[in-house]
Symmetry: none
Subunit: 202 residues, 4 copies
């Protein structure tokens, strides 16, 4: 957001490779991609990928960590604000949906190849993934303590349900090959909160 001042920022080859990797991973999936695809997409020589990254795995891990750290931080910052728990959850959902809106490829890669890949990167990055769940659980716990939320399910269960619902919506968008409209993006965070906080019951 602040990297492009006036004329032309030196095109960092490392960044070029990471951005290219996002595109090819999103397009065909991590396992279906050859390292050559990344290099080609980035317009750099094959070997340069290995100059900057130890392995193909590390390219994906780097992408994940870059973004996931931001999300974990956002969740924490949101929790520190003076807001109703419901509003905090809305903000978190909004941030995640906005992340997808801003860079759908990156979010697709993170969710499909890491977050939901229980047998490969999901297990490797489990500690980091849990940081996000825990942050959400703390928001819920705060809501329970303040009396805003009922004390019917454990905060960590509620966090699971909340995050699961959010990710499923994203998965729906990922599977849908059509572009997502602005209205849907806007409505999604409200719908999530309406469902999880308000409940379906009349």
């Amino acid at each position: 957001m602040a990297t492009t001042p006036a004329k032309a920022p030196a095109p960092d080859k490392r960044r070029l490779i990471l951005d290219a990797a996002v595109r090819v991973f999103a397009r065909r999936g991590f396992n279906q991609c050859r390292v050559a695809d990344i290099a080609d997409e980035a317009g750099v020589a094959y070997g340069l990928v290995y100059h900057y990254f130890r392995s193909k795995d590390q390219v994906l891990s780097t992408l994940f960590e870059e973004r996931w750290n931001v999300m974990v931080e956002v969740i924490e910052q949101v929790d520190e604000q003076e807001l109703a728990a419901r509003e905090k959850l809305r903000t978190v959902a909004g941030f995640i949906f906005e992340s997808y809106r801003h860079d759908p490829d990156l979010m697709k890669v993170i969710i499909v190849e890491v977050t939901r890949a229980a047998n490969s990167f999901g297990r490797t990055h489990l500690p980091e993934i849990r940081l996000a769940y825990d942050g959400i659980a703390r928001i819920v716990a705060g809501g329970v303590q303040s009396g805003e939320f009922r004390d019917v399910v454990t905060p960590s269960f509620a966090a699971m349900a909340f995050y699961g619902a959010v990710e499923q919506v994203l998965t729906g968008w990922i599977f849908a090959d059509e572009a997502i409209g602005a209205v849907e993006f806007e409505g999604a965070k409200d719908a999530i909160v309406e469902t999880i906080c308000g409940g379906l019951n009349g």
Copy 2:
């Protein structure tokens, strides 16, 4: 030769292979498994896997379809019963959690390798997967029509949230290497319904 005589059930090699595949796929993941692993686990010759199945992919697809069809049918049957929508959802959640309780390996494989594998089997089996979503959405729609549910989110959105929450709970169990207690299984379906239908708000 008959599938189920009187005493000793004929050890159907095809079944042996499928069951072995579930175990090895659950243990190390579909991609990390070689066809030889399946054959070894089943105690049959390498080539026999290819006698019964066209490919390694087809082994997984068969496992998925066997189970998923049951689930889709259950959802439909539940919807046909004379029940409150909330009770229908509770039954569906209960069935899914029971499925995991009964055969955690199979459910793990189906969820991790198919349902959440957007770049491989998830896309292949998308139509079948959507059948389940649609079934749930119909239950919600019925609840809205009868006035039981508020008309705040679309039924298909609610179905996503519901199913996403359920799957996330299962994912949590899958990641947790410890065994899940009976109480948790029982409580899970109530907690899901309490969260999605009742809502967190007090």
Copy 3:
């Protein structure tokens, strides 16, 4: 020697690969050879090499062990015979030179790629290599004990000198691209014994 009865022994593919490996390793050296070269030379598919051997390294190790074990055994058997130490050494030298005469490629590979490769296979197979040195040293020690040999250098030093001289002669043959004549083979063992046992001094 006993594997070929009457007509045509089934051409064991594993053996085919080993024999082919000897030829290509001798021709261009282990490091300069690709696994494909072995397969091509053997007339089998690439993958078959890996069906029978864990790695390219293991092909060489197998070749080495097959032959080296024979040599160690011969040295031991020679030592058990009722012979003057000098005759024992002559027999050992003769066996080694005959080994080269019978299969120069194999001996070249063993010496160049294992025995003299202190940074790779030489270190891996050091224990086995030392078995041969030790056997020779025992022969010398016997000669000293019987009074046949003077007690001027340690048996293990004498063994080193003896084996070093033998190997250097072989190395000379290996470097010489011309074929070695029968006379030279015959003379070599005598010359070695004459040099090491008789000494150069008049």
Copy 4:
């Protein structure tokens, strides 16, 4: 900037690289070393290696030639002296063993990576290697002509045996990871001469 002023000897980068190469080649072997390892060990930039040397091969060749030329010269000078052939051989063996004592890494590299590498550098440098053999053979021939040595084996065969014995002793030291004691260094040259010239026979 001058190569050798008064006090601080200018740290010739070329020399730095050569010395570093000796250490890393000795440690892990030529083939197991990357050019980066040499540069790192020398504390210079990667590219500088290629500023001073055409290739990685040339670094090793330079090291070999520097030292080997000295040895060939020593052998020639020894032969020109008024000494018994036996004393000449003792001096040559002594020089080689002293070379190892003074810089074991360098001698290890020369022997393991060049002299005994029949499929790579050994073949490239064969002419130079033979110069040493020839020099030793001339010493033996002189001994035969003067009647000091018996005329039982050809001088070139005797040279092979002598050099082979010497190198085998060095190889033993190279393989032994422990340091070699002063006594052993001293005794080695006598033992070699005692064995090759005196002979084992009593």
